[in-house]
């Protein structure tokens, strides 16, 4: 009851405080995002509806493709016609905008909602610049899930693997059974994600952070990293000839149809299973590999708020930021999106078993690592993407060369 009245009163108060001159005028928020697929647009509608309930007017500017949407939003911001809010992946994509003093901070709201207490530490750090909060995180995506078709694993007499060594034994059996062992989408970013998934299991969080956060040569030259490279190279023999260039959802479809055994993909793949009428735990399974602790790669999405000339628009930004983090919004959004709520203080029993498992992992710092987008700038991630892709396709590059080139990237000026 109290919560509800707060929910009504606070936005009203914010609206009053923000736009005394235009009191009574509706808060308009133009939001640029890239959520255009079926499940995604259903999820973004949750934000729109909750914002409308809070007295705002949502103006939807959906632009397909993350890079396209970010480019459009950045160009408009630099050009002096900023949207009210713009989407980024949790991480370093908006660093330059903060440096150029183009973003408004949301520090006051963060203190009011006590973000420090309710957000996982890594997420909190990822939206903080110079001690101030500069974006509102809205969800958490696990990037390193292993999805498998239960019927296929049963057929070859295998149960859920716990690490890559076990998984490779199962892949070998699936291959012998004449199916595609690993459903794979051979595009650069998925090649990198597959490598990262192997690396986290084989080398653990210390090497992960050593590479992506500290850019340490020692981490890249460690025996554990080398073991990850060896295992990654082995996986080449478990993908089919049609994998280069394939889209990730087509690879998921292979697992859904029982033509393939497993897929490594972020939790957005769940949307494909759900759309095909499959249930987690019954038709398909999900698991995470983290032999050295820290098995959950945590990424996600945030919204940032460009500085506005018009005070009424700043008011709309605050209302929007607040609405996005409300408990109801968070749960409803996660159900539609396949992600998990970014807050650690919510009841997640209404989410599926994969999401519940993930929610447990974000409570415990030792179980997670931050995504590469959070740790390294896009230019460096791109260079690593190119390297992994070059290595994965064809046997021309030796494992030593791979390590040397990785070291060169870490030392480069990205």
């Amino acid at each position: 009851m109290i919560a509800r009245s707060i929910r009504v009163v606070v936005p009203a108060a914010l609206a009053l405080a923000a736009g005394m001159g235009s009191a009574g005028a509706q808060q308009r928020a133009e939001v640029i995002h890239w959520w255009t697929s079926g499940g995604e647009s259903a999820a973004v509608r949750v934000f729109a509806e909750q914002f409308t309930k809070a007295g705002g007017q949502w103006v939807d500017t959906a632009i397909a493709g993350g890079a396209n949407a970010r480019t459009a939003a950045i160009n408009r911001t630099v050009g002096g016609d900023p949207p009210t809010a713009m989407q980024f992946n949790t991480g370093k994509q908006f660093d330059d905008l903060v440096e150029a003093n183009l973003l408004a901070d949301v520090d006051a709201l963060a203190r009011q909602q006590n973000w420090k207490a309710i957000l996982p530490e890594a997420i909190s750090a990822a939206v903080t610049r110079n001690g101030k909060y500069f974006a509102v995180p809205v969800n958490i995506h696990g990037q390193n899930w292993i999805w498998y078709n239960k019927a296929v694993l049963e057929k070859v007499g295998a149960s859920e693997p716990k690490n890559w060594d076990e998984a490779i034994a199962i892949l070998e059996k699936i291959k012998a059974a004449g199916l595609i062992p690993l459903a794979f989408s051979g595009q650069k970013n998925w090649e990198r994600d597959l490598f990262n998934t192997v690396m986290l299991d084989k080398a653990g969080p210390a090497v992960w952070n050593g590479i992506y956060a500290q850019r340490s040569e020692a981490a890249a030259r460690s025996a554990d990293f080398r073991a990850a490279v060896d295992t990654f190279a082995k996986l080449r023999s478990y993908v089919d000839a049609g994998s280069p260039g394939r889209n990730w959802n087509d690879a998921t479809a292979l697992v859904i149809q029982g033509k393939a055994g497993m897929q490594v993909m972020g939790d957005w793949a769940k949307g494909e299973f759900a759309a095909a009428g499959k249930t987690a735990g019954k038709d398909f399974g999900c698991t995470l590999f983290g032999s050295k602790g820290g098995g959950y790669v945590m990424g996600g999405d945030v919204f940032a708020f460009p500085k506005q000339k018009d005070a009424a628009k700043s008011g709309a930004q605050l209302t929007l930021a607040k609405v996005m983090l409300e408990p109801d919004t968070q749960i409803l959004f996660a159900q539609k999106k396949g992600s998990i709520p970014v807050r650690t203080d919510l009841d997640v029993s209404s989410l599926d078993i994969c999401a519940q498992r993930a929610s447990k992992m974000i409570q415990d710092k030792s179980q997670q690592v931050a995504s590469v987008q959070m740790l390294a700038p896009p230019a460096m991630n791109g260079a690593i993407e190119d390297l992994v892709s070059q290595f994965w396709n064809g046997n021309a590059m030796s494992h030593d060369q791979f390590v040397d080139k990785m070291v060169a990237i870490l030392k480069g000026s990205y």
Binding site: D240, A241, G242, S243, G245, P378, A379, S389
Partner: protein
């Protein structure tokens, strides 16, 4: 006196009419080019800055495997695509020039690919060349179980699949240009050749084709332009893969400009492309200008 004023006035009118176009060219074209070159000497990342770093971006660029692969790929694609499209286009034109029946229909059929965008071309060829559901699967379905045509998923052959799609796309245009050239050749030459008893192929090889110089130049320039800006075909068909095997310079620029937020490196790559094009085009223009000057002197 009057005449001179009239000439002056018509000159002014011409200049006034040209002014908007000239302004657009100066600002949008030369201005952007200048800005791009300047950016390539700065440390700009996602947003432009003026922090001068000399040639550092160029050093990074020419140590970048992907850039080197891209240049190499463009050279292979450019050579094969231009030669291939010219050859196929010429053969089609000669075939149609034999006064075949249904000439109009055939001409439209051959010209049709050119009306499609590179994105559609790329997607269509991607589907056809995909080994798991394209030509390979079809032929295997006919009973040839060992048939293999998986060029698009192999690093050493993928660039040739881009050439195939490129030639398929452009051959019709070349055919149209060549056909116009062939039709422009005086019938007397053919009659004379026939009287002398020269076989048809020999007439084409030694007399007619050498007379098609202007057609070759036109087609060659059009094809070269589409080679340099090769981007959408590669994106739609292979997205640069497998690995880096079908990366091209324009895609390098676009990816680094936007997705990777590396303005400095992207503009260094763009500037390198410009330098390459200019260094190839400038001698050609110079030679042509000289030839023209000599002609007028004569």
């Amino acid at each position: 006196m009057f005449a001179r004023f009239g000439r002056f006035r018509s000159r002014t009118a011409a200049w006034v009419a040209l002014l908007p176009a000239l302004a657009i060219i100066l600002v949008a074209h030369a201005g952007s080019t200048g800005w791009t070159i300047w950016m390539s000497f700065t440390s700009s990342r996602m947003l432009p800055n003026s922090n001068f770093v000399g040639l550092r971006q160029y050093v990074t660029l020419f140590n970048n495997d992907r850039w080197l692969v891209s240049i190499h790929n463009l050279a292979i694609f450019g050579t094969l695509m231009v030669v291939g499209a010219l050859a196929v286009g010429l053969l089609l034109a000669i075939a149609i020039d034999q006064r075949v029946r249904a000439e109009n229909v055939l001409r439209s059929v051959f010209l049709y690919p050119f009306s499609m965008s590179f994105v559609v071309t790329g997607l269509a060829w991607q589907w056809m060349l995909n080994p798991t559901h394209g030509i390979q699967k079809l032929v295997r379905g006919w009973g040839f179980a060992d048939f293999q045509f998986d060029w698009i998923v192999r690093q050493d052959t993928v660039i040739f699949t881009l050439v195939i799609a490129g030639v398929w796309h452009a051959a019709g245009l070349v055919m149209a240009i060549m056909l116009a050239g062939l039709r422009g050749i005086d019938d007397e030459i053919w009659k004379a050749a026939r009287v002398d008893g020269i076989p048809t192929w020999r007439t084409y090889a030694s007399i007619v084709i050498p007379m098609l110089g202007a057609s070759f130049a036109t087609a060659g320039i059009l094809l070269s332009a589409s080679v340099v800006r090769l981007y959408d075909l590669a994106v739609a068909m292979t997205n640069g893969g497998p690995g880096l095997a079908s990366e091209v310079p324009a895609k390098f620029v676009m990816d680094h400009l936007f997705e990777r937020g590396n303005l400095g490196l992207a503009t260094a790559a763009a500037t390198s492309m410009l330098i390459t094009v200019v260094s190839i085009a400038a001698p050609l223009f110079y030679a042509r200008a000289r030839a023209r000057a000599q002609e007028t002197r004569r």
